[in-house]
């Protein structure tokens, strides 16, 4: 059956191959092409944002001002965050969704292919605008990625460009999210009912709803900033009757679901990989779905834990503190299920599995420091210190980014038709894991000792840990070049089989490697995937 499908597709391929040259990429409506574009774009942004991080870490290597002006330093922290959040992590997951969701649910393509093309090509424009602000009068935005007024209103010429680039990123994400929901709800293989969907598809479905719910709120908040600055409104200007604290509420109403937008697809990826290399089905598939839905719901009612220090009534602090801690319950369910999946499994440790395991372990550390920050009275002390920096980098770097790396290694043979270089993959993993901890673990101590974030200079008692963190950051940055080398030589390895790994589950492993340009022109029976491997 599998080969019959494959042959049919090969024959089909000859008639409708991709166009040649750059027109293929500019006008493509093929989900695999667009997925590739997203992934390459996010890799480029990852290196641009990473370079900015290295500027930050070089400046902080020693106390005193070494290399850059404080204003430029602040631009670097702001731009690093905007680029990593909106340019690296989110597009990488959208790229994975584009590549994998149609293949996982047995659909021929995304439901809205032309919109898909548009939602990608908006991104280079948005980030072109954002990066161009580096060369403007008054410098790039330096008020922090959270764009709090009144500080952000002091941005120079870059201000309207910042707002418009955020608008464009929002439009791109919303279109991508709509596309993903319509694809998942309308184009599944005939006998794949909702609770039979792979977890990666499930987590993306929930993420897409989160995106549609909160990206417009961010767009609204930055539009208010824009009208405050140029059109005489006073949403956030106290002199005109507004309140700057209200911006924080609106921003974090977006901002907290946003952090789950960046981690839920990572949960999905890890839930695909761990069963494959444990050679056991995922423990508690349905509870994973419910846990992810719970997390998504809770994300809407905890936003004020980002702003405990604004002066909230006691009842407000208690509510947000307990609601935040409640999130540990569904997250705990997930971690428990991953561990239970591995329990007595026959495990092997290929690169994707290594990244997935590091994800489980290191993300949990980030989760625990999150719990510490959730304690309202303690947060007053931790607020705006390096402890917060350590916390969110632990959930984002060995969290989201390790999951993206794991996904890339896991599906790379399916994309290219060749096995990547396993020893270099492992080298990449070990270097990344060691250096990520060298970079971010000392930041916990710095924060607890009282070092504030977003400063270019610090007291001398913080010097040692900062030096260690800077060395780690440099090492982490260089180790990512190994990943680039693995990607560049990805087609030099042995030919991959259709299944690639020993016993992966899912429809994507029933198509040939490399996946043909068009897959599932006729819907498959979802059962086939299971029959093929049992």
């Amino acid at each position: 059956m599998t080969t019959a499908v494959a042959e049919a597709q090969d024959a089909h391929d000859e008639h409708h191959g991709p166009e040649k040259g750059f027109r293929r990429w500019l006008f493509t409506t093929n989900h695999k092409d667009i997925g590739t574009l997203y992934l390459i774009f996010s890799l480029i942004m990852f290196f641009i944002g990473g370079t900015m991080a290295l500027v930050i870490r070089s400046e902080l290597m020693q106390p005193g001002l070494q290399f850059v002006h404080p204003e430029f330093f602040n631009s670097m922290t702001t731009m690093h965050a905007l680029i990593m959040v909106f340019g690296a992590v989110m597009p990488a997951f959208v790229g994975l969704a584009n590549w994998m969701i149609p293949m996982m649910i047995g659909a021929p393509d995304m439901a809205l292919p032309r919109m898909n093309n548009w939602s990608f090509w908006i991104l280079p424009v948005a980030f072109g605008i954002l990066l161009s602000t580096l060369f403007m009068e008054g410098g790039a935005p330096a008020g922090g990625w959270t764009m709090y007024p009144p500080l952000i209103l002091q941005t120079g010429d870059a201000f309207p460009f910042l707002i418009f680039s955020v608008h464009l990123m929002g439009i791109s994400s919303i279109m991508g999210a709509i596309n993903i929901i319509v694809t998942i709800l309308n184009m599944r293989a005939p006998d794949m009912w909702l609770l039979k969907m792979p977890i990666f598809v499930w987590t993306w479905l929930i993420t897409a709803y989160l995106l549609i719910a909160v990206m417009p709120v961010l767009a609204g908040a930055v539009t208010m900033l824009l009208t405050d600055q140029f059109f005489g409104t006073s949403f956030f200007l106290a002199a005109g009757g507004g309140d700057p604290v209200m911006f924080q509420h609106i921003f974090w109403f977006f901002g907290h679901p946003e952090v789950y937008i960046m981690i839920l697809p990572a949960f999905g990826v890890v839930s695909e990989i761990i069963p494959t290399f444990s050679r056991k089905p995922l423990f508690g598939h349905d509870s994973m779905v419910y846990a992810a839905s719970c997390i998504a719901f809770l994300s809407f009612i905890v936003w004020a834990h980002h702003m405990f220090t604004v002066g909230m009534p006691l009842s407000g602090q208690l509510f947000f503190m307990f609601a935040t801690m409640l999130i540990a319950v569904p997250t705990g369910v997930k971690v428990f299920n991953w561990v239970a999946t591995m329990w007595r499994g026959s495990m092997t440790f290929e690169t994707p599995m290594l990244f997935a395991l590091a994800f489980v372990f290191l993300f949990t550390i980030g989760g625990f420091s999150g719990l510490m920050l959730a304690i309202a009275p303690a947060d007053i002390q931790y607020h705006d210190t390096y402890f917060v920096v350590a916390h969110f980098h632990y959930v984002l770097v060995p969290g989201s980014i390790f999951a993206i790396m794991a996904a890339a290694y896991y599906w790379l043979p399916k994309w290219t038709g060749h096995m990547y270089n396993e020893s270099l993959g492992k080298l990449h993993f070990w270097l990344s894991t060691i250096f990520v901890n060298v970079t971010f673990f000392p930041m916990h101590f710095l924060g607890l000792a009282g070092m504030p974030r977003r400063i270019p200079d610090y007291s001398t008692q913080f010097a040692d840990f900062n030096l260690i963190a800077s060395i780690g950051a440099l090492g982490f940055g260089i180790s990512q070049l190994v990943f680039v080398y693995v990607l560049l030589t990805a087609k030099k390895g042995a030919t991959a089989t259709d299944r690639v790994w020993e016993a992966p589950k899912g429809l994507e492993w029933t198509v040939p490697s490399p996946a043909p340009y068009h897959t599932f022109d006729t819907p498959p029976k979802a059962r086939i995937a299971e029959e093929a491997f049992e």
């Binding site: 439901a111 809205l112 009144p150 919303i174 999210a177 709509i178 929901i181 319509v182 709800l185 309308n186 184009m187 599944r188 293989a189 005939p190 006998d191 009912w193 909702l194 549609i212 719910a213 909160v214 990206m215 417009p216 709120v217 961010l218 767009a219 609204g220 908040a221 208010m224 005489g232 006073s234 949403f235 200007l237 106290a238 002199a239 005109g240 309140d243 604290v245 209200m246 509420h249 609106i250 109403f253 604004v310 002066g311 909230m312 009534p313 407000g316 819907p523």
Partner: protein, 186 residues
């Protein structure tokens, strides 16, 4: 559900896409709706140090069993060319009794200026109980070039003030309202 997947995506996708777009538009509106909601929320809870900016009336009804310390804090908004201070840093008051305080501001420029003082009260649990009967913050204050002027405040601390509050801080930020008043004219 099964039926819809048999078909090529057509009308089904279109209507779902439409609904999702509508949802996105509604959420954009919701962002703006948060503005009046936040106002109402602050009004009710006193969150954000919200305190009355129009005159309230209150009967004198002294409760001599308690004494509350009221502290005055004054701030001039960034780079605004003003001097602004309270004539006394703090005063001991009896709840339910009327008190007067004066604040002095001086325009440091050679031009006519309009200022607006924005009050806030801490702690939050006191903000509903600090009643300003008359306050210079109720209206814009016009100053001639280099004018210095004392401005009155008349207030009562409500005897219903929670037991655990023994200090109330009243804070004023003095804003230059060139921009805001320009908007009023347009």
């Amino acid at each position: 559900m099964n039926d819809s997947t048999e078909k090529k995506p057509g009308n089904d996708s279109r209507s779902l896409t439409g609904k999702l777009l509508l949802l996105a538009a509604a959420m954009f509106g919701f962002g703006y709706l948060l503005v009046p909601l936040y106002d109402v929320f602050c009004e009710i809870t006193g969150f954000g140090g919200r305190t009355n900016t129009v005159a309230e009336s209150s009967q004198e009804n002294p409760d001599f069993s308690r004494s509350i310390r009221v502290e005055f804090v004054t701030t001039v908004n960034e780079y605004a060319p003003w001097e602004f201070s309270a004539d006394r840093d703090s005063m001991e008051v009896t709840p339910g009794k009327m008190y007067y305080a004066t604040f002095t501001a001086r325009n440091l420029t050679d031009d006519k200026k309009v200022a607006q003082a924005v009050p806030s009260v801490a702690p939050v649990s006191a903000s509903g109980h600090f009643k300003k009967i008359e306050c210079f913050c109720f209206t814009n204050q016009e100053f001639r070039a280099n004018e210095e002027r004392a401005m009155p405040l008349q207030f009562i601390v409500d005897p219903e003030l929670p037991e655990f509050v023994d200090t109330i801080t009243l804070q004023y930020t003095f804003y230059d309202t060139v921009r805001v008043s320009a908007n009023d004219e347009s």
